[in-house]
């Protein structure tokens, strides 16, 4: 045996994890189709939920690909696609500043208020 590490959990069977490049030096010459993020509404009454991403040349193609990749088994009644570069995001790894304001405002929660048990419909 080689002593090389193989992980069985590479899906359909063991794949080596050593001696395998994790990135190329420099990108290929071909210009890639832009990356789109895909959101699917599972059924009426629910929000659109992020399900993953795909590449497409334009919006119309992105919608068609989203249907084929993410809704082969009635997973959705509506799809949104948006180019990934248009998504503005907070960074979850930046500690506190973004979400800290909600931490010390316990009075925003109904459980902050004590009301006698025998008051109905509260």
């Amino acid at each position: 045996m080689s002593g090389q590490d193989f992980t069985a959990e590479g899906g359909h069977g063991a794949v080596p994890l050593e001696g395998v490049p994790a990135a190329k030096a420099g990108h290929g010459s071909e210009r890639e189709w832009p990356l789109y993020e895909v959101f699917v509404r599972g059924k009426r009454g629910l929000n659109h939920v992020h399900v993953g991403s795909l590449h497409a040349a334009d919006d119309e193609m992105a919608l068609r690909h989203a249907r084929d990749v993410y809704t082969r088994r009635n997973e959705g009644v509506s799809v949104w696609v948006v180019q990934a570069r248009h998504v503005a995001a907070s960074s979850p790894d930046e500690k506190d500043p973004m979400f800290a304001p909600s931490g010390d405002k316990v009075y925003r929660h109904p459980t902050f208020y004590s009301i006698p048990d025998d008051v109905p419909h509260m």
């Binding site: 063991a14 794949v15 080596p16 395998v20 994790a22 990135a23 071909e30 993953g52 795909l54 790894d93």
Partner: protein
């Protein structure tokens, strides 16, 4: 993220602690979180090669689509092969959240620098192989993939949940196909047995070499990327498959396969690891054919990718004018 370029030692160790605490709480790591470079690289390798396996995995069965014995079987096989494409795309999308591009990954596959599962380097010689692949190969894949739904990297786990939901259809259609053949003629039954004989050992090899030969398993398990050892998963697969084979009326080609009441598991023989290493190195029956086919599909499609971009550019310019 660029944090690691500029961070002081103290900042770096705070980031590491935060990362390790997240793993320890069994919470998920998300794409924009800081992560150790080794974790990121291990994930890129594992997810990319998993994606490649799904994409190459379309070939052995795709081979039979035009020769399916009935319209029903053809529709099923088409749906299954389309699912494999979908699984590849979910996984490429997860890998891309780690900062690699789709084009890079495809190039590393067709240059042979990244691998895919060895099982797809075996040929499909009869239609029974379509059933056996669904039953044993996808069955083994389910054993591998179910624990991955709880893997520590969020996008990978979410992709695996989608994959696992669909994989169950794959296994059941395969088993039903074989059951149908077993109810047919003696020749059809022999065809099933012959197919099972060819795929049993390669299916066991899908779980990878024995644990004592997998030096990095411990690190992957500590990071929550891997959830069970190769040997644990292999044992689980054997125990699951034996009663399924009995119900089907076939045997496995292993004289050492028997129930061990003391262990509460089946004992079984050792796969030929020399064969496994040869196939990984590229000397399997179909390695060259699989890569050549993937390369041709990629290169023959180049003009379509370029034309679609040119069309999109022109539409945008027309809208602006």
């Amino acid at each position: 993220m660029t944090t690691s370029d500029t961070a002081t030692d103290a900042q770096l160790s705070a980031l590491e602690t935060r990362f390790e605490d997240t793993i320890a709480r069994s919470e998920r790591i998300e794409p924009r979180d800081w992560m150790p470079e080794g974790y990121r690289k291990t994930l890129v390798r594992q997810i990319a090669q998993h994606a490649h396996s799904e994409i190459i995995g379309m070939q052995p069965e795709g081979n039979w689509i035009t020769r399916a014995p009935s319209l029903r079987r053809k529709a099923i096989l088409l749906a299954k092969v389309q699912d494999e494409a979908g699984h590849g795309l979910y996984l490429y999308s997860a890998a891309e959240t780690l900062g690699v591009s789709r084009g890079e990954l495809t190039e590393m596959l067709i240059e042979g620098r990244q691998k895919y599962s060895s099982i797809f380097n075996y040929p499909t010689l009869s239609y029974a192989d379509v059933g056996t692949i669904g039953w044993l190969v996808d069955g083994a894949a389910i054993c591998n993939q179910v624990p991955l739904c709880r893997t520590s990297y969020g996008p990978y786990g979410r992709a695996m949940i989608r994959v696992c939901k669909e994989e169950s259809f794959h296994q059941r259609q395969g088993y039903e196909l074989l059951m149908t053949m077993m109810q047919g003629t003696d020749e059809q039954r022999a065809m099933v047995q012959e197919s099972v004989d060819r795929f049993w050992w390669p299916a066991l090899m899908m779980f990878g070499p024995p644990d004592e030969d997998s030096p990095n398993t411990a690190q992957s398990m500590a990071w929550g990327i891997k959830r069970n050892t190769n040997d644990d998963l292999r044992q689980r697969f054997v125990d699951m498959s034996v009663p399924q084979a009995e119900a089907l009326g076939v045997t496995f080609p292993d004289p050492d396969l028997k129930w061990n009441a003391e262990r509460g598991h089946h004992d079984f023989g050792e796969p030929d690891w020399e064969e496994f290493m040869q196939v990984v190195k590229g000397n399997g029956p179909c390695n060259a054919q699989r890569i050549a086919h993937r390369r041709a599909a990629h290169e023959d499609g180049a003009w379509v990718r370029e034309a679609a971009l040119a069309f999109a550019d022109r539409q945008r310019e027309a809208a602006r004018a």
